[in-house]
Assembly symmetry: D2
Homo-oligomer: 132 residues x 4
């Protein structure tokens, strides 16, 4: 069992979410924040950095939104549905935008390929928690 799943299980409070879906979304948010931070850096080091400006900005933005969302989802005490939905909605959109941008470079740059996958995983995990 992952650390995030163990932390959910041992929390004295619970949310309305399935523990499996919640753990997956928390892990996806943290993994995507890392991948986007690293992808921005890898793009910065490429010879064609000038053409990767949009990708760098999108990566940095997505990293920040995913990091915030991963933290919000890690809190179960006095769980607030409206706050969680606000964060998840922003995160799903940030991941959608970043996945789309990274996919455009994925053929030539493997870090964009890996990052696009991390974004898509996170987008799907957010979408799942947002299902009514």
């Amino acid at each position: 069992m992952s650390v995030a799943a163990q932390m959910i299980e041992t929390n004295p409070t619970s949310t309305g979410y399935s523990p499996e879906d919640l753990a997956e979304c928390i892990e996806a948010c943290f993994a995507c924040a890392q991948a986007c931070t690293a992808c921005a850096d890898a793009c910065l080091g490429e010879d064609m950095v000038v053409e990767l400006r949009r990708c760098i900005t999108t990566d940095l933005d997505c990293a920040d939104v995913c990091a915030a969302t991963g933290r919000v989802l890690s809190r179960q005490t006095s769980f607030d549905s409206a706050m969680t939905i606000a964060a998840l909605t922003a995160c799903r959109e940030a991941c959608r935008i970043c996945a789309s941008e990274c996919k455009g470079h994925a053929e030539h740059m493997q870090h964009c390929q890996v990052c696009a996958q991390a974004c898509q995983r996170c987008e799907q995990a957010c979408a799942r928690l947002l299902e009514p």
Copy 2:
């Protein structure tokens, strides 16, 4: 002129936003992130911490969303409207929820009063940038 306003003015790229409104929103996001972090801590130190659980969680969540939004707004290169709107929408909602929660304790606790004001300032600044 504030540091945020100077950074906007000296950036080689510009967004479609009024520089004054953008600077105000960036400053409001960072100030709100600080106030919410400090309010969560002050609530934790109060004798009646048990009754302040919701306020602490809301403060921590709002701090994270404001910090992420303040960073997204600080980026002007390859400015992406959809990304910015996603962050602003989440931030306006987080600040609305946190201001409402803190106002409920503002009569008895001054830190909640100060924090509610920081949240309201940020909510309004986000709303202004979201105006069509």
Copy 3:
């Protein structure tokens, strides 16, 4: 191969660190940031929250330092040894303090037990990169 390891391998620049040790430290930082955020929340929801104030503050501080360090380590372009050592040194100390605090409650609270392990893993991963 983990996402962090793939991002290191596909980055056009490399640091002086062993890719395995670097990936382990990045993953340990992000996992510890998540565990500490969740442990602070779980402590807040416990009946004995008054006696867990120190643990909550330590968790929140450690989460912030680990998150920052995990990001610094994710950047390889124009790698700066002094910057990295500064972050790693703070992170090793934050994890040492938080592990010690959480271990004091680990017998009665499983989330503190899981969090202490995440802190110790991160402390050791930082120490390894700091070895001359």
Copy 4:
């Protein structure tokens, strides 16, 4: 009185620091995190981005360390001297490195000039709190 100063004054707990020095350091950390985030972005948009790679990485690293330190300093409940010193020491060093890097470009780029000043203010504020 600034928001940070008001939050210190209304916190039920106090640290051993002078409230004025503490407020100044908290504000300097948040302002530096903002300036560094914006400077990284402004550098990314410059024609000579290839020669600004080191400045971008240093800015992003310094932003993360300052943001974490500003949060740690905003917590007064169960104040831990060792944790605070660890964060302040890393932050002083990050700001020293980033100020030095930005000063090298300050003649030609005003955003680096403004950012260098924000880093120096933060470095000095950290140094003051670290004085025995």
